[in-house]
């Protein structure tokens, strides 16, 4: 079967890290530690596992970060190279899997928990906080925090992969493949919204209006009693989508602090040789970009005692505000099965705005992976929210 495989290559990673930001083409050319390969079709040997035929698999920001060498080496211990990326997957069961019959259309909750690894549930898994599983490097499958980072399971950027029953969620009737594809990122957004600790009427800042930011906005609007939701958007189509997804207002990145200051009546300070910040600000800020600038905007625009939520994989940033303003800095990773994030996500992707947006998903066959990644790197500028592989395309 055809698959895209990420492999270990120190030179490529170094080149991508050093020059990828300035020469984006490098990330899908010389510097990409990714190759199109023919692999044996996966086999299922353990109970509870089944083969999936991939219908679509999305390209996530974390995939791009990994391919460009931007991801922290912290994560090198929880992946097993070489592996097939792709953790946003909608597929079709090729085997019966416990209560699910072969042929069932499913989406994958990618976290490889104790249940999938065939080990005794850890404390987090017992509590239903499966995204916090402590056994992600041991058990029946090789280390890997998720499907799409694990050598043994395969990933969505291929024609087939394997998944455990605990990871599978049947796709509700009436949802298109594109909508189903969005269930995983929306489930993450559900988890983010619940982790954000938003109280009635809280003012929330969402920095970023890519898929992560837009879905977080939707989840915040639908699942919390947030008051004003201010979304930071770089591109025109993102502004329109953010409003459709529940934003009260949308601002350009350079206007963010000024607008937050204005709406909250905060005081603005201008430190020497550093970015301005507010005394006062929003109650909750959510970084949905993961860049230094975005994270610092969140830290600088949040009132003392407020909460900053790291939804994107964070970059190094000045944490002075977290200390000085006693901010709660909260990470949100994937989604937890105990909170039925995928069930809630299934409802949210049926939302009209998401249904409309799903029609703009750009699908590529596997062999056009360079174009697909180029597109994903420039998705915001090109007016796309989600780029995906569809291995069925020739």
């Amino acid at each position: 079967m055809l698959a895209l495989e990420m492999f270990r290559s120190v030179p490529k990673t170094m080149i991508g890290k050093a020059a990828g930001g300035r020469i984006p083409m490098l990330l899908t050319g010389l510097a990409a530690p990714l190759r199109l390969v023919t692999l044996d079709t996966p086999r299922v040997e353990k109970p509870g596992w089944a083969r999936l035929k991939v219908r679509m698999s999305g390209i996530c920001g974390s995939d791009l970060g990994m391919l460009s060498g931007k991801t922290s080496l912290y994560f090198s211990a929880v992946v097993s190279l070489p592996f097939v990326p792709g953790h946003e997957v909608v597929g079709e069961l090729l085997d019966d899997c416990e209560d699910l019959a072969a042929g069932t259309r499913v989406v994958v909750d990618p976290v490889l928990t104790c249940a999938a690894r065939g080990v005794e549930p850890c404390e987090a898994c017992r509590r239903g906080e499966t995204n916090r599983c402590s056994r992600i490097t041991v058990g029946d499958v090789s280390p890997g925090l998720q499907t799409g980072f694990c050598h043994d399971t395969g990933g969505g950027w291929s024609q087939q992969l394997t998944a455990h029953r605990s990871q599978l969620h049947p796709v509700p009737e009436g949802l298109s493949d594109e909508q189903a594809l969005l269930m995983e990122p929306v489930a993450c957004a559900v988890h983010t919204a619940l982790r954000a600790g938003v109280r009635d009427g809280d003012r929330v800042l969402v920095s970023g209006a890519g898929a992560v930011g837009l879905f977080a906005t939707l989840a915040l609007r639908e699942l919390t009693d947030a008051g004003e939701i201010l979304v930071v958007a770089k591109h025109g189509h993102q502004r329109e989508l953010a409003l459709e997804f529940g934003a009260t207002e949308v601002v350009a990145p350079k206007e963010t602090l000024r607008r937050v200051r204005r709406t909250t009546g905060a005081f603005q300070l201008e430190p020497v040789y550093s970015s301005p910040y507010l005394l006062g600000g929003v109650d909750v800020a959510l970084d949905a970009v993961g860049s230094k600038q975005s994270l610092e905007t969140c830290l600088h625009a949040t009132r003392a005692g407020g909460r900053v939520v790291l939804s994107g994989m964070p970059a190094a940033a000045d944490l002075s505000a977290a200390w000085f303003r006693e901010l709660d800095v909260v990470g949100t990773y994937a989604s937890a099965r105990g909170e039925d994030a995928f069930g809630k996500a299934a409802d949210l992707v049926a939302h009209d705005a998401v249904a409309r947006m799903s029609k703009t998903v750009a699908a590529y066959p596997l062999h056009r992976w360079r174009e697909a990644l180029d597109h994903a790197h420039s998705a915001g500028r090109l007016g796309t929210v989600k780029v995906a592989f569809d291995p069925r395309l020739s």
């Binding site: 206007e255 000024r258 607008r259 200051r261 204005r262 009546g265 905060a266 005081f267």
Partner: protein, 526 residues
């Protein structure tokens, strides 16, 4: 003998005419038949300024002479117009300082020792120490400023405001507590235009937002026709009601001064002359300045223009009761600025210069440029506007100076946020004004820094409400397209393009009137 203002009709002998556009000017060839309105030349000034001041104080109108109002143990407050007047700033010594010196001498002779001097800022920015020194003079500054007896009015200091009641129309009257509790309040005006002075001096200059909001709003402004004619201005009617109420509890001794229109001293005096009368020297100065400005960076051009000082002469001074004093002042202002015009035009052309009341030592941002053109110049009429209803205003200004964040912080938000949503003064007022007026950060900056009050950009936009209501189109020649568009206007590269764009509203052969100012003129349209 001073020549009065006049109307020139452009013919084939008319040379290109000077048009101001921000930190520069251009020579424009107007279509044949264009009417060009020139202000009168500087009228006669008083021969001895100090003597004229003394005369006014000793022989006031409908009031006892000033010395008779002064007595030992009294509380005397002297308020004076801020740096928004005159334009440009007057060469030292400023007329206000010369008047204040004489008032203080009389007060000292009467044994008055409780004296405070207040810059009547209303919601304008605080003046710096140097700016205060320039207005009151070195001696007064040194005597009062270090002791805290010379200061800027603070309209956001509730402990130092006094609510004097409401007018018969329910308007709150809240002014400086010190002024309200004084035995005598002397107000020193510079009446640059007919709009200034009268009951507007104390009723606005020393008032809080609570009071000012009653007349500074879109509804009132659109019905002020015009601001330069206080008997037909809703804004002035409101200020007059307030002033009369103030007069019931505070004794006000009003001093109003009028100036000639010598706004550009040598070697820039060619800017005030009629182009066909330029001497060789004038033409050389003009060419040199044009070439220099074309090469100079914006900062240098800004410095060059903002360092200009007006060589004004005093044309009159009147003191005493507010209303009769103001009537005399208005007559004097008319003498200097009034030009009779027959009929309205389809198109009104205005060059917006580098300076307006709210960017002294600061930046003419797009909102201020709009206010200068569509607020001040458009409204500078008696009778009816220069342009007919549904006509077009063509203005010259590059709209590219950006915002001064020290002086105009709330303008940035107004421009980016409020104007992005609506440019209709009637819409933005109810939705945003209160938010900006009560924003604690803006209040903090107004009180402690040198920032205009948070609500100030709204007032600028209300200023143009009448023009927006009256005009069919507004086109900026040489204006930044994005800035013009943000304000709901259009931009053109040349006058010909602008006229082409205007043809949809006024046809292809419109009647055109160009207001050749500065110096300021008041169009008396019959």
């Amino acid at each position: 003998m001073t020549r009065p203002g006049f109307v020139l009709e452009v013919d084939d002998r008319t040379p290109p005419l000077l048009v101001h556009e921000g930190l520069g000017f251009r020579l424009e060839e107007f279509p044949l038949g264009t009417r060009v309105i020139y202000p009168p030349e500087p009228v006669a000034t008083v021969p001895d300024v100090d003597q004229a001041i003394r005369e006014a104080l000793l022989n006031p109108v409908d009031s006892e002479p000033l010395p008779e109002l002064l007595f030992a143990g009294m509380k005397l407050t002297i308020a004076f117009d801020d740096l928004s007047l005159p334009l440009p700033t007057m060469k030292a010594p400023d007329i206000r300082g010369r008047i204040i010196e004489q008032v203080l001498e009389m007060a000292a002779a009467a044994g008055v020792d409780d004296v405070e001097l207040i810059a009547a800022l209303a919601l304008h920015r605080r003046m710096t120490a140097d700016e205060l020194r320039h207005v009151v003079g070195e001696r007064v500054f040194r005597s009062f400023y270090p002791q805290g007896k010379l200061y800027n009015f603070d309209a956001e200091d509730p402990a130092n405001l006094a609510h004097l009641g409401t007018t018969e129309k329910g308007e709150d009257v809240e002014i400086s507590k010190r002024a309200a509790e004084s035995d005598l309040l002397v107000y020193v005006n510079v009446n640059l235009v007919a709009m200034d002075g009268g009951h507007k001096s104390v009723g606005v200059g020393l008032a809080s937002y609570k009071s000012i909001k009653h007349h500074h709003n879109a509804k009132t402004m659109v019905h002020s026709r015009s601001f330069m004619d206080h008997k037909h201005s809703e804004m002035h009617s409101s200020a007059w009601r307030m002033g009369r109420l103030i007069g019931e509890s505070v004794k006000v001794f009003q001093i109003e001064t009028t100036l000639d229109n010598n706004v550009f001293g040598k070697p820039y005096d060619f800017l005030m002359k009629r182009e066909w009368e330029w001497s060789v020297k004038d033409q050389a100065a003009m060419l040199g300045m044009r070439r220099g400005l074309a090469l100079a960076p914006q900062k240098l051009r800004h410095k060059l223009f903002h360092d200009l000082r007006g060589a004004y002469g005093l044309t009159g001074i009147n003191a005493g009761a507010v209303e009769p004093v103001h009537e005399r002042t208005v007559r004097k202002v008319h003498e200097q600025q009034r030009v009779k015009i027959e009929g309205q035009a389809d198109v009104m052309v205005m060059g917006v210069p580098y300076l307006g009341p709210y960017n002294v030592n600061s930046t003419m941002n797009p909102i201020l440029a709009a206010c200068m053109g569509l607020g001040y110049y458009f409204n500078s009429y008696l009778g009816q506007p220069v342009v007919r209803e549904g006509g077009v205003a063509i203005l010259y200004h590059p709209l590219d100076e950006g915002f001064n964040t020290l002086h105009h912080p709330s303008y940035v938000d107004f421009y980016e946020e409020v104007l992005a949503e609506s440019t209709d003064p009637h819409v933005i007022g109810p939705k945003f004004e209160e938010q900006f007026a009560t924003d604690p950060w803006y209040i903090h900056l107004y009180r402690t820094s040198n920032a205009y009050h948070g609500v100030h950009p709204f007032y600028m936009w209300y200023w143009i409400a009448h023009a927006l209501d009256h005009l069919g189109d507004v086109i900026w020649v040489g204006g930044d397209r994005r800035a013009a568009s943000r304000m709901g206007f259009r931009a053109a590269s040349t006058l010909q393009d602008a006229l082409e764009m205007a043809s949809g509203a006024v046809g292809t052969s419109p009647s055109i009137t160009y207001l050749h100012n500065p110096p300021h003129l008041l169009a008396d349209v019959r």
